[in-house]
């Protein structure tokens, strides 16, 4: 029992430390956009607002590779877009 406790405490500490340092998906996206805004400069008609995303672009950038967009989200997005 003591052994379990001895292992569990450092594991919990490590897990908490991990939570504190690894940014979640939302924070990562926010940081990436901030990084892009700081890394591009306007040229002619290509202004920095071209980095901004609408809902569709944001969701289509999020659900990529192995992460499949849930059917309900896709349908809601389609409905919103077709109302425009």
């Amino acid at each position: 029992m003591k052994t379990i406790k001895m292992l569990a405490i450092p594991a919990a500490v490590l897990a908490l430390a991990g939570c504190a340092t690894t940014p979640g998906p939302d924070e990562l996206r926010t940081n990436a956009i901030a990084m892009m805004k700081a890394s591009f400069k306007e040229k002619g008609q290509a202004k920095l607002d071209r980095i901004d995303q609408d809902d569709m672009q944001r969701l289509c950038s999020e659900y990529v590779a192995e992460k499949v967009m849930p059917r309900e989200t896709a349908q809601a997005l389609e409905r919103r877009r077709s109302r425009r």
Binding site: L28, N31, S39, Q57
Partner: protein, 272 residues
């Protein structure tokens, strides 16, 4: 009547199959011809001139401190150039940043030679009648990794962060064309005109593509660095201009470089 229809349908199917085979064969033949063209060009790659010039600039005493770059630490220790490109981008404690080759060269020019960052970054890319030190240095340093496997560590927390941010940028859709890097480079068997587009999410393509930059572009008569490659990709997406050695450019490079681990570095290459 029914028999006639059946005959006609069979004939149409046969014709379609024949046409499809023809188109497939034509595409394959075009790709093979381009490969032959590249192989022929590779026989005498003018990038060697940039490599030789870069070697001389590397050893030349320049800047306010009248020092050479020979003691620059490119990731394997001060003065070690052989194999250095295969570990970049990398975290450097002296700048507390993840740096790719170009940004590391800028840091060395600042730290060793006494240039200001603005001076060191002033001429990032060559053009007609304008040969710049950066292109030559990039050609020289990368040539010293030819034939070696890519082994970007990506283990330091700042390297992990750069990789994750680079991945986000790779998939970021935006701009007037609603493009992301993945639009062209996240799918198999795409091309622009006759140019095959590597799927950079596919390990085989990722290794082949990343290890072939920098490259001498025949159409431009210049050696183009990886920073230039990214700049021009974003230009084609109609994004604003990617700044030379900017954090986003380094994060994206980290994502692409680490994905090429295990691939044999084979550049400066030659491209159309």
């Amino acid at each position: 009547m029914r028999k006639t229809w059946e005959k006609a349908a069979r004939a149409a199917l046969a014709a379609a199959a024949l046409a499809a085979t023809g188109v497939g064969a034509q595409q394959k033949s075009a790709i093979e011809e381009i490969e032959r063209y590249r192989a022929a060009l590779g026989d005498g790659n003018p990038a060697e001139l940039w490599e030789a010039r870069g070697d001389a600039i590397w050893k030349e005493k320049r800047g306010p401190k009248n020092a050479s770059l020979e003691q620059c630490d490119l990731g394997l220790g001060p003065g070690i150039v052989r194999g250095a490109y295969t570990v970049l981008p990398k975290y450097f404690a002296d700048t507390n940043k993840v740096e790719d080759l170009e940004s590391r060269l800028v840091s060395c020019m600042v730290m060793l030679q006494g240039f200001t960052p603005e001076q060191a970054k002033k001429d990032p890319y060559g053009g007609p009648g304008k040969k710049v030190a950066m292109d030559a240095l990039v050609a020289f340093v990368t040539s010293e990794s030819r034939g070696l496997p890519m082994k970007v560590a990506g283990t330091h927390p700042k390297e992990v962060e750069a990789y994750d941010l680079g991945r986000q940028i790779f998939f970021h859709r935006g701009g007037p064309y609603d493009f992301s890097c993945a639009t062209c480079h996240g799918v198999n068997n795409q091309r622009i005109r006759l140019q095959d587009l590597p799927n950079l999410l596919n390990p085989r393509d990722a290794k082949k593509a990343y290890t072939s930059w920098p490259a001498y572009r025949v159409s431009q008569g210049e050696v183009r660095s990886f920073q230039w490659r990214l700049l021009d990709c974003f230009r084609q997406q109609r994004f604003p201009e990617l700044e030379f050695t900017s954090p986003a450019s380094i994060a994206l490079t980290m994502f692409l470089a680490k994905n090429s681990n295990g691939g044999t570095f084979d550049a400066p290459a030659i491209k159309r």
